[in-house]
C-alpha cells in the first residue's frame, strides 16, 4: 500500500484555502476599485468553499453536507456579484468612476 505525497493530506487543502483568504484580504484592503474588491471577495469565498470541501471529505461523517454548503456559497457569490456589478455600472454612469474612495454618500 502506498500513500500519495500531497493530495491525501487535509493540510495541503487548508493551506491553499488559507493563501486564497490572505490574497483576498490583501486585495480587498489595497485595491481601490469596486470590481477589484469584488474579485478579492470571490477569492475569499473560494477559499471558504475549498475549506468546506476539504473538511467534509477528510473529517465529516456525512459526505453530502460540505458539497451542499459549497453550492450555497456559490449561489450567494453569484447573487452578490450580480448586485455589486450592477451597482458598479450605475455608479459609473452617474460619477464616471468606480473607485470606492470617492463614494461616501448614498444620494447626492
Amino acid at each position: 500500500m502506498i500513500q500519495p505525497t500531497f493530495f491525501g493530506n487535509i493540510e495541503v487543502y487548508l493551506l491553499v484555502a488559507l493563501i486564497l483568504l490572505s490574497f483576498g484580504l490583501y486585495g480587498l484592503i489595497s485595491r481601490p476599485g469596486l470590481i477589484s474588491m469584488l474579485i478579492s471577495v470571490e477569492l475569499i469565498l473560494n477559499g471558504a468553499g475549498l475549506n468546506f470541501m476539504a473538511f467534509n471529505t477528510f473529517t465529516a461523517p456525512d459526505k453530502t453536507e460540505g458539497a451542499t454548503f459549497t453550492l450555497f456559497v456559490m449561489g450567494l457569490a453569484a447573487a452578490e456579484a450580480a448586485i455589486t456589478l450592477s451597482i458598479a455600472v450605475a455608479i459609473y454612469r452617474r460619477f464616471r468612476l468606480i473607485t470606492a474612495d470617492n463614494l461616501s454618500g448614498m444620494k447626492d
Partner: protein, 189 residues
C-alpha cells in the same frame, strides 16, 4: 480518512501528485494575478485561472459534481458578468491614482494578510485532523439533491429567495442610472 492505493498503481499516484501540484500552482498564480494586475481585465482573467484551479482541487477531493458546478457558475457566469461590467464601466486608471494613501493601503493589506496567514496557519498545523465514521456513502448529485430537499430545505428555499431578490434588485439598480430616454440639449436626463 486515509487515502491509500495498492503499490502497482505507484506511477499513477505520482502522476496524480504532479497534477495536483499543477492545480495548486494554477490557483495561487491566478490569485496573485487577480490581486496584483494593473489592468482590471487581467485581474478578471487571473481570477478565472484561479477558479479553474480550485475546480481541479474539488475534483481531487472526489466531488466531480461540485467541480463542474464551479466551472459552470463561477467561470461561466460570475466571471463573464464581471467581464461585461469591466467593459460597460470603463475601469478607472488605478495606477494613475498615485495618492498618498495607496502605499498605506498596500502596507495595511500586507499586514492583515500575513497576520491572518500566521494565525490560521498555526491553527492548521496545531490540530491533528482525525476522520469520523462514515454514515452515508454517496457524494453524488442524487445524494446532494436528497439532502437539499430534506435536511437543508430551509436554506435551499432562502437561497432561491435571495437569488430572486438579487435578480430584481440588480435590474432595478442598473436601470436607474440609465435615464428616461428623454434628452434635453443632447444631455440625457
Amino acid at each position: 480518512m486515509d487515502i491509500t492505493f495498492s503499490s502497482d498503481l505507484s506511477a499513477y499516484v505520482a502522476i496524480a501528485d504532479v497534477t495536483f501540484i499543477a492545480f495548486i500552482a494554477m490557483t495561487l498564480a491566478g490569485g496573485l494575478v487577480a490581486i496584483l494586475a494593473k489592468q482590471l481585465i487581467h485581474a478578471v482573467l487571473g481570477l478565472i485561472i484561479s477558479l479553474i484551479g480550485v475546480a481541479g482541487l474539488y475534483a481531487f477531493l472526489g466531488n466531480y459534481f461540485i467541480a463542474s458546478m464551479q466551472i459552470l457558475i463561477y467561470v461561466g457566469a460570475v466571471s463573464i458578468s464581471m467581464v461585461f461590467a469591466v467593459m460597460l464601466a470603463r475601469p478607472p486608471e488605478e495606477v494613475k491614482q498615485k495618492s498618498m494613501r495607496l502605499a498605506t493601503k498596500i502596507a495595511l493589506g500586507v499586514i492583515v494578510g500575513l497576520f491572518t496567514a500566521a494565525t490560521v496557519g498555526s491553527a492548521v498545523f496545531a490540530h491533528r485532523w482525525s476522520a469520523a465514521a462514515k454514515v452515508t456513502s454517496g457524494d453524488t448529485p442524487v445524494e446532494i439533491g436528497i439532502g437539499l430537499l430534506t435536511r437543508n430545505v430551509l436554506a435551499f428555499e432562502l437561497i432561491s429567495l435571495v437569488l430572486l431578490i438579487a435578480i430584481i434588485g440588480s435590474v432595478v439598480i442598473a436601470k436607474r442610472g440609465r435615464g428616461t430616454g428623454k434628452t434635453v440639449g443632447g444631455e440625457e436626463l
